[in-house]
Amino acid sequence: MGTSVYATLGRLASPPVFYRIAEASRIWLIGLFLLLFIPGIYGALIGAPPDYQQGEGYRIIFVHVPAAWMSLFIYVNMAGMAAVSLIWRGKTAAICARASAPAGAAFTALTLATGSIWGKPMWGTWWVWDARLTSELILLFIYLGYMALVASIPDRRTAAAAGAILLLVGLINIPVIHFSVDWWNTLHQPATIAKFGAPSIDKAMLMPLLLMAGSFMVFYLAVMATMAQALLLEQEASSQWAKQAAS
């Protein structure tokens, strides 16, 4: 049992197989994204009732909150793939980690931008040095540092290994950063979804939020797979399957 699971995973991780699966699944991923995104954005902008305190302005959280979830999820996912690439020397895992970084940085930037737009009417200022805002900003710096690192090491294998080690050390550091930044008294509203028991959010608001989160996740998978395909072709340019795939 254990060996067969590993064998399946190992086959999946071979570059030509991964390339073919990614190629075949792209259209499905885009379709699923639209299937989740269209009702999600409709529910977010039109369907959900206005908030009794914040009026219509709160609707930006339907983008802000899923983007913030994705910014953290992608980082943790990248660190997981980095660990796989270091332990089992997986080429594909290393490439997927690398291909995730632009999406992660983009979601982090989107979180900061939407938070800032929301903050202007609600807090009366574009930027506050609130704990979560600040950790998100530092996360953006970590993403950009990772991207700069892998881009400036010419040797692919070195870039992958150095990037993986940076990701893992960053993973240890992110809770420390978050905790240290929490030192200040925080202005941010406390989390309303991840409470134990019933979440303190109305169902009419929760549904679009979850749909948006799902669509962001599928969007990330589609972007990551496409970018990983391009990176794989570039890295394996001399191999037979890459020549066939590119022709």
Binding site: I142, L149, A161, A162, I165, V176, F179
Partner: protein
């Protein structure tokens, strides 16, 4: 106890004083900019002093980390280090200690002068002198780690600094809070915790990164 690598690095530092004197001069001169730019009101200076001194200490550490492995890569001594039968972690640790002795320790010696410039009262100077060794040691370990990770990118200057900067932030927050706050015990302990974490994780990670980088150099 012969510590050949530590002695070699210190000897190199002694022969090239510019590499650690310039960051030190930079540190001193930058602190002097603040009264000139912000004004000399003692209350203002006293309020910003912990933050200013810690920011500038971080900058001078980032400024001096650039040469940590660069010369060793160029003249091939890094490869000798990797081939040596002794554990690489010890070599990395020796690098960090040498960096701290050349860049962290002089800052501590200069701290009373800077505290006087920034009108810092004596009890806060004492806290500064307690936090500086802890915080600069974290900086040195992070500097060695970041430069080891960036060792394969020999043409990008300041890449290591860019990698180290976000990771240094917790240490800066705790250190500055310990010097500035009314209750220094908690941030001081947390700063010490940062150092214990750094000294546990970073030499291991830096050694791994050096081995990985050696394939591509």
């Amino acid at each position: 106890m012969k510590l050949p690598l530590l002695r070699r690095d210190l000897l190199v530092a002694a022969r090239r004083p510019g590499e650690w004197l310039i960051p030190l001069a930079f540190f001193t001169a930058t602190v002097a900019i603040f009264p000139l730019a912000i004004g000399t009101r003692p209350e203002t200076l006293r309020t910003i002093a912990p933050g200013v001194i810690w920011t500038v200490a971080l900058l001078s550490s980032l400024l001096s980390q650039d040469m940590l492995f660069r010369r060793d890569i160029r003249d091939g001594s890094l490869e000798q280090l990797l081939l040596s039968p002794r554990p690489l972690i010890l070599a990395v640790l020796a690098k960090a200690v040498a960096h701290w002795l050349a860049c962290g320790l002089p800052l501590i010696v200069l701290a009373p002068l800077l505290a006087a410039w920034m009108q810092l009262p004596a009890e806060q100077l004492l806290l500064l002198l307690v936090t500086l060794p802890l915080g600069t040691a974290v900086f040195s370990l992070l500097a060695v780690f970041a430069e080891a990770v960036a060792a394969g990118a020999s043409r990008s200057r300041f890449l290591g600094g860019m990698l180290a900067l976000p990771l240094c932030m917790p240490a800066v927050i705790f250190a500055a809070a310990a010097v500035a706050g009314d209750a220094p015990a908690a941030p001081l302990l947390l700063l010490a915790a940062c150092l214990s974490l750094a000294i546990t994780v970073l030499p291991l990670a830096a050694a791994g990164a050096l081995r990985a980088s050696a394939q591509g150099i």
